[in-house]
């Protein structure tokens, strides 16, 4: 573009079709099925380690017993949420919020350092796809066999293999749905009900819904969930920068690509290290070619790294033609340690600091959490009443919520109003994990009332658990002296 500045400014650039032979294309396309080749190697082992870890956790946790009950149980009907020693009330919802904020910052932090590690290793979509792919591989065979089977006619062999695969998939899906519901209904009861098929209507719904969603997502939708539904793929670039470790193809080393005889002289053949075997494309679960550079579809599962390393080994070339590298690292030919050295940069430090601060606040607030809660509700219709000898009385209803699994006795006390007497509060017993309402009256003598003056006066109810005087909950309220 060598036009002078003045001339350029006036140029109106029309929208014109490029003179290429037009072709008919649909706005919606039939999805091409992806047949990922199975892969072995260091990263594949990591992926399977994560599959085992997350799934033992997910499937196993409901079966764990703690304090004589299910260790993790979210009881929706009684609105009590048991997590090991914790008994949470709906009022503790802030902890869930905290957990979600923590997860979000954890994701930001990890993404800034190492890209989509979550997607590649821990996301349920990846994990269940991995499991379902393994089943598919066992029953229908390797990539080539699967392609041939799908293309071939419906033989008895195909019918049996397909139905066996779907049966196993459905079984895994329904077991997943069952385990999911097991977090909300005692899993042992649910297990007993499963044999007589006597689930409740909502249990039926959720076992099947979650089960079929697993079957559909991991069996059929697979990479399309990541490509078209998951928002993370679309905003990941906000967390990436040129020093983020991503799965990269070293084009400078690999190109020009081409087939060659083993042991051929590269310089003479004018070839790079890439032998263009296409294995990295065949193993890709999202169907991209990593050699085209970073793409939003890439879930950073590193299957292509494993595949390429195995080829490099066979060719007796050094490993790492496809490897975790940063954009700067590739351009500036940085060494591994130089790239890792750049991890400590402002973006990562800020994400890390915020993450650490939130984590510390979360842990501290959980640790300093009281074993009970108090709500104070004033009588609203009559704010104050005169009783014997002109004393002023206010009425309050106190809700005492026991967040332990033992019966507790609480002592209610009063602070903030000189001369105020708590009338009918003896010590209050509350059953394990139960809430109880009590009505208490606070009385002030005529002289004290006069000294206070008409109006609302701040006061506090102090509730202590007997046997543990250190635990004290203070709830604010007001005492009203009528005019």
């Amino acid at each position: 573009m060598t036009m002078p500045q003045a001339a350029r400014a006036r140029v109106i650039i029309p929208i014109t079709p490029v003179a290429v032979e037009p072709e008919l294309v649909s706005l919606y396309e039939k999805q091409k099925k992806i047949y990922p080749r199975s892969v072995h190697g260091w990263f594949a082992r990591w992926r399977w380690t994560l599959v085992w870890f997350t799934q033992i956790l997910f499937y196993g946790l409901p079966w764990l017993t703690w304090n004589g009950r299910q260790a993790v149980l979210f009881e929706l009907t009684s609105r009590r949420f048991y997590i090991f020693d914790l008994v949470l009330y709906p009022q503790d919802f802030i902890y869930l919020t905290g957990l979600l904020v923590l997860s979000a910052y954890g994701l930001f932090f990890v993404t800034a350092v190492g890209g989509r590690l979550w997607c590649g290793y821990a996301c349920p979509q990846t994990v269940y796809t991995e499991i379902f792919l393994w089943v598919e591989h066992r029953i229908e065979g390797e990539r080539g066999a699967r392609i041939k089977l799908d293309a071939g006619p419906w033989t008895a062999n195909k019918l049996w293999r397909k139905s066996a695969k779907h049966a196993v998939w459905l079984a895994i899906g329904l077991w997943t749905g069952f385990s999911f519901v097991g977090y909300f209904t005692p899993v042992k009861t649910l297990w007993a009900e499963a044999f007589t098929l006597s689930f409740g209507p909502w249990e039926w719904f959720w076992v099947n819904f979650y089960g079929l969603a697993t079957y559909g997502n991991a069996g059929f939708l697979r990479e399309q969930v990541c490509k078209y539904m998951c928002p993370y793929a679309r905003f990941q670039s906000a967390m990436f920068d040129r020093d983020t470790l991503i799965v990269s193809y070293d084009a400078a080393r690999g190109d020009p690509r081409g087939t060659r005889a083993r042991g051929a002289d590269l310089k003479a053949a004018k070839l790079g290290d890439c032998i263009d075997c296409g294995l990295c494309v065949q193993v890709c679960p999202v169907g991209i070619d990593i050699r085209d550079g970073l793409q939003y579809e890439c879930i950073a599962c590193s299957a292509c790294i494993d595949a390429c390393d195995s080829v490099m080994d066979k060719m007796k070339y050094p490993r790492g033609l496809i490897r975790y590298a940063t954009e700067n690292g590739l351009i500036q030919r940085l060494t591994r340690s130089q790239m890792f050295g750049r991890v400590l940069r402002p973006r990562v430090l800020i994400y890390g600091a915020v993450l650490a601060a939130i984590a510390a606040a979360f842990v501290a607030s959980l640790a300093m959490r009281h074993t009970f809660k108090v709500d104070v509700v004033r009588d609203r219709m009559t704010l104050a009443r005169l009783v014997d000898d002109g004393q002023v009385e206010n009425l309050y209803r106190l809700q005492l919520m026991n967040a332990t699994e033992q019966k507790q006795r609480y002592h209610v006390d009063l602070q903030g109003i000189p001369g105020a007497v708590l009338m009918n509060a003896g010590d209050v017993d509350v059953e394990p994990a139960q809430a109880r309402w009590i009505t208490v009256a606070v009385r002030v003598s005529p002289q004290a009332a006069q000294a206070l003056g008409a109006g609302a006066h701040p006061m506090r109810f102090e509730v202590a658990a007997l046997g543990d005087a250190s635990v004290k909950v203070s709830e604010r309220s007001t005492f009203v002296v009528p005019r």
């Binding site: 072709e23 294309v25 919606y28 009425l395």
Partner: protein, 304 residues
């Protein structure tokens, strides 16, 4: 649909809804039809010399989701209200759903209430389960006026003492809750006599309960009390049949002292306990009666 003053609006809304749905479908079909594209997977459009728009097609199943939403909308409009004022074939309404849920809740608690309703009040007052139910009923229906502890306040009777305006037997309490009460003190200062006479009567009334009073004025007031005796009785002990309070105890529902009594005699007072017969079921009222009765009969209620 009372918001619509003529059925024209309903038709208008229905037409807009249906045309909108059809337009969505038409747009989808038109947009999904094959378009002329360039051969290099771009839409063939170029901006600013070299910016090209890549053709990035959605998966086709995604399009079927769009179609599904339109099918869903059609089914929804057939079943539920939405097409103008048409009620839909399920005849669903939020009020109806609320009533269904209430009926379901009633059916769920019916066996419990049937059992409780068959138990006599004094026995029921000893039943912790019944009292827990009663406490909740009281908190929801009675506590607003009588206080969370049922001790009332000025103008709202204390239900925990033995003093009853309309009688404290279970039958009378049940009647009070079901039908409500209207207590009426007429302004009868004129019948009593001069303002002086009214003050003397007030002093006499104070003397009945042994409160501090002027005994000479009370002596003068004694004969004038005959007017009051028609309802409150010659001895001032009141009459629960008509809600006339007992004047010989130290319970002063509407205020203590000569001024308060003079005001009452001069101006009169109408105090209302609203009827709850159509708000609560007879079974609920039975349990509530036992709860209220138990408040002032705790000794009897707690006896084995």
């Amino acid at each position: 649909m009372s918001d619509f003053f003529s059925s024209g609006w309903s038709i208008y809304i229905a037409v807009v809804t249906v045309v909108g749905l059809i337009a969505c479908l038409a747009l989808l079909i038109i947009a999904a039809r094959r378009r002329v594209m360039a051969g290099d997977n771009t839409t063939g459009h170029v901006w600013d010399e070299d910016l090209r728009e890549l053709n990035n097609p959605l998966p086709r199943w995604w399009m079927w989701l769009f179609v599904l939403t339109i099918v869903f909308a059609g089914a929804y409009l057939a079943l539920y209200p939405g097409l103008g004022s048409a009620a839909g074939s399920l005849k669903w309404s939020s009020a109806g759903q609320h009533q269904d849920e209430q009926a379901k809740a009633r059916a769920l608690t019916a066996p419990l209430f049937a059992r409780l309703a068959a138990t006599p009040v004094p026995e029921l007052a000893r039943n912790p389960q019944a009292m827990a139910v009663g406490e909740r009923l009281f908190a929801n229906n009675c506590a607003a006026c009588h206080g969370a502890d049922a001790k009332g306040s000025k103008g709202f009777p204390n239900l925990t003492d033995a003093d009853w305006l309309w009688g404290g037997s279970p039958e009378r309490i049940k009647e009070t809750i079901t039908q409500g009460r209207q207590g009426m003190m007429p302004p009868i200062a004129a019948a009593v006599g001069s303002p002086e006479d009214v003050r003397n009567v007030a002093q006499y009334v104070l003397s009945l309960s042994g409160s501090a009073h002027n005994s000479i004025a009370a002596e003068f007031g004694h004969p004038k009390f005959a007017v009051c005796a028609a309802c409150h009785g010659a001895n001032g002990k009141g009459n629960p049949a008509m809600g006339a309070p007992n004047l010989t105890d130290k319970i002063w529902l509407h205020g203590w002292g000569e001024d308060a009594i003079v005001a009452m005699v001069t101006k009169g007072k109408t105090n209302v306990m609203p009827a709850h017969g159509d708000r609560l079921t007879p079974e609920q009222i039975h349990v509530l009666t036992a709860y209220v009765w138990g408040l002032s009969n705790s000794a009897a209620a707690n006896a084995p």
